[in-house]
Amino acid sequence: MADTPTNAAPNTPSVVERTRAIAAGAPVVAAHFLGRTAALVLGEEAVLLVPDKGDEQRIALHGGGILSAATDGITVVTGGDDGKVFSTDAKGERRLVATDSKRRWIDQVAAGSDGMVAWSAGKTAFVQSGKGEPKSLDVPSTVGGLAFAPKGVRLAVAHYNGVTLWFPNAQAAPEVLEWKGSHHHVAFSANGQFLVTAMQEPTLHGWRVVDAKHMRMSGYSARVRSFGWTVGGKWLATSGSEQLVLWPFQGKDGPMGKQPKMFAAFAVRVTAVACHPKQEVVAVGYADGTVLLVRIDDGAEVLGKKPGAGPVAALGWDSAGTLLAFGTEAGEAGVIDLG
């Protein structure tokens, strides 16, 4: 093992000096941007708001652990083991979206267009749009992931043996995309044509939404915990291996029958990825705390963060692609200004 690089090569260009370090004081579980304000979601109780100019603000939300977080770019939605769902904006204004009547854990949340919020507790998924009562859907097993389709009011609910596609405002029966096994994190491609889940096994499963055609993406050394499409949807960037794995989604068949591209091989695993919103660049976080920026065109690497105490758990870009926020399991955090 001694000869294997555990770090980026010494001559790698670096943007580390452009980092504003943040003392999160707790493990960071998600990083989002509300405009130019970073929202670092902590493992317990609070969200840390970091405006690009000015002081950080700690917004106390949950009376316990924060189990999930999502954003629509305007607010960050969080679900806690206190049975509550909060929505918090860049100024720190927080709104209690829901309290579970049985105080069950809020395992998953998702944020949709027009302030729509979805969450799940056990086997039940909820959607709230506007001021009305939330609508709910029971699925056969505990919800493993939630995602809104990019257009329209449609929610993907991942669970054991498949994903249920639900139009909460329509009478139509939900459609089920079946695949044996336990499905966790779920996401639609930006054009809405593909749906991908991370499974309990170290594989991804995908469906072409129009005809439910299957795609299997395997070969990982661990469960895939983080994935996302590059701008324009050409590549699916994924964690779960000792390198950045990119599946080609250019064609109408997705990655079927094609090999993934692989970059930035390390001795340790990729634990988080975040795709740049304007260019084919991926921020890649590793188990040793390193963050690299990788350009897909030529595989060029730029060091964003040196190794640290814990695995990178959260990465997020602002919508302009000039700010990158990161956080680790050990509570290291920062915002890199590339502008």
Binding site: T6, Q200, P311
Partner: protein, 349 residues
């Protein structure tokens, strides 16, 4: 690997099984209410039975998920993966985790979760499977409930509870029934689940370093008996006579096979054999353990397994004067004993 550096403080997890009414809930309530200075996060099933309002008590659904290889024994508890990940958000707020299973549960998916899920395995470790059994009714349950038999076979620690409800003869009978299935578990006889918590928590039964000896527990004399809370029955006396005065039962479908040889083994023969064995007969093998003496190897090699999952490592050097032999035990249902014995013989170097 440096990604495993955080593993130094893995939280211990105790799995508490037992048929309905055996005294599991009483035991849990004691763990949660007694002033022992420790904080436990408890994952319970029949939510609401625990009469204590505690934010660290979490309800679970016992969702048993098959893995993608399509094998019936390769299962995990999906809900447990989710709950343990959630509890880890509150790391530092508790010292250990207890997983209560329903009376009908098979302990294997729970145990396998800790070996199969990388994230759960990185942050927690399985400590022991503790089974509470009702001294009066266990004999009947062993006849009519395969789950009850599984729980006894799988256990590291057995609490034979409610011994005040049976005669000494009935107690010996039920103990013999237990030993016919699982001769290796630590057995405690209790009333109202009264037991020093140190006897059930912090056992390290799944720790390879603790695989020190593989002898049937009822042949061990001396240490341990002072913990049995005998309350005046004649347990110790029996032992003195003829190994507990236990009749020798053979359970018709659940048994253990133990193997022993002084001849050094060949690792090149042993590993392919044991891997093929668990691949073919894993559904029947509930648990296995072994201490191995490999030819030209100064170290003891230890291993353990649950169904098809094996875990093993060099443990320590054989000591001067220590008897170098290999011992293995398999506990399971309708084990192919002849196949196991003859296969093992081919592993001699």
């Amino acid at each position: 690997m440096s990604s495993d550096q955080v593993s130094s403080e893995k939280l211990p997890v105790t799995v508490l099984t037992g048929y309905l009414g055996a005294g599991k809930t009483t035991l849990l309530n004691r763990i949660l209410s007694e002033p022992h200075g420790k904080k436990y996060a408890v994952i319970v099933n029949e939510f609401g039975e625990i009469g204590i309002d505690n934010e660290l008590v979490v309800g679970a659904d016992e969702e048993v998920f098959e893995m993608n290889n399509g094998c019936i024994c390769c299962t995990v508890r999906g809900d447990l993966i989710r709950i343990i990940e959630g509890l880890m958000r509150r790391k530092g707020k508790f010292d250990a985790i207890i997983v209560e299973t329903t009376g009908l549960a098979d302990p294997a998916p729970v145990a396998q979760t800790f070996f199969v899920d990388e994230n759960v395995g990185r942050k927690t470790r399985l400590d022991a499977v503790v089974t509470v059994a009702d001294a009066k009714w266990l004999k009947d349950r062993l006849k009519d409930a395969p789950e009850a038999k599984n729980q006894i076979a799988f256990a590291d620690v057995i609490l034979l509870n409610k011994i005040d409800r049976v005669t000494p003869a009935e107690l010996r009978e039920v103990e013999a029934r237990i030993r016919a299935i699982n001769p290796y578990a630590k057995l405690h006889k209790t009333e109202r689940s009264q037991i020093a918590l140190s006897e059930i928590l912090g056992r390290n039964a799944f720790d390879l370093d603790r695989i020190l000896d593989i002898e049937p527990e009822f042949l061990n004399t001396g240490d341990g008996h002072d913990h049995d809370h005998d309350h005046g029955h004649d347990h110790g006396h029996d032992h003195h006579h003829d190994h507990g005065g236990l009749k020798h039962y053979h359970d018709e479908d659940m048994q253990s096979v133990s193997l022993n040889t002084d001849k050094p083994l060949s690792p090149d023969k042993f590993f392919p054999w044991v891997q093929k064995l668990v691949a073919e007969d894993g559904p029947a093998i509930l648990r296995c353990k072994g201490i191995l003496n490999f030819k030209d190897d100064p170290d003891r090699f230890v291993f353990q397994g649950v169904h098809m999952i094996l875990d093993g490592d060099h443990q320590r050097a054989w000591k001067d004067g220590e008897k170098r032999n290999s011992r293995l035990v398999f506990i399971g249902r309708n084990l192919p004993e002849e196949k196991i014995r003859s296969g093992f013989e081919t592993c001699v170097a």
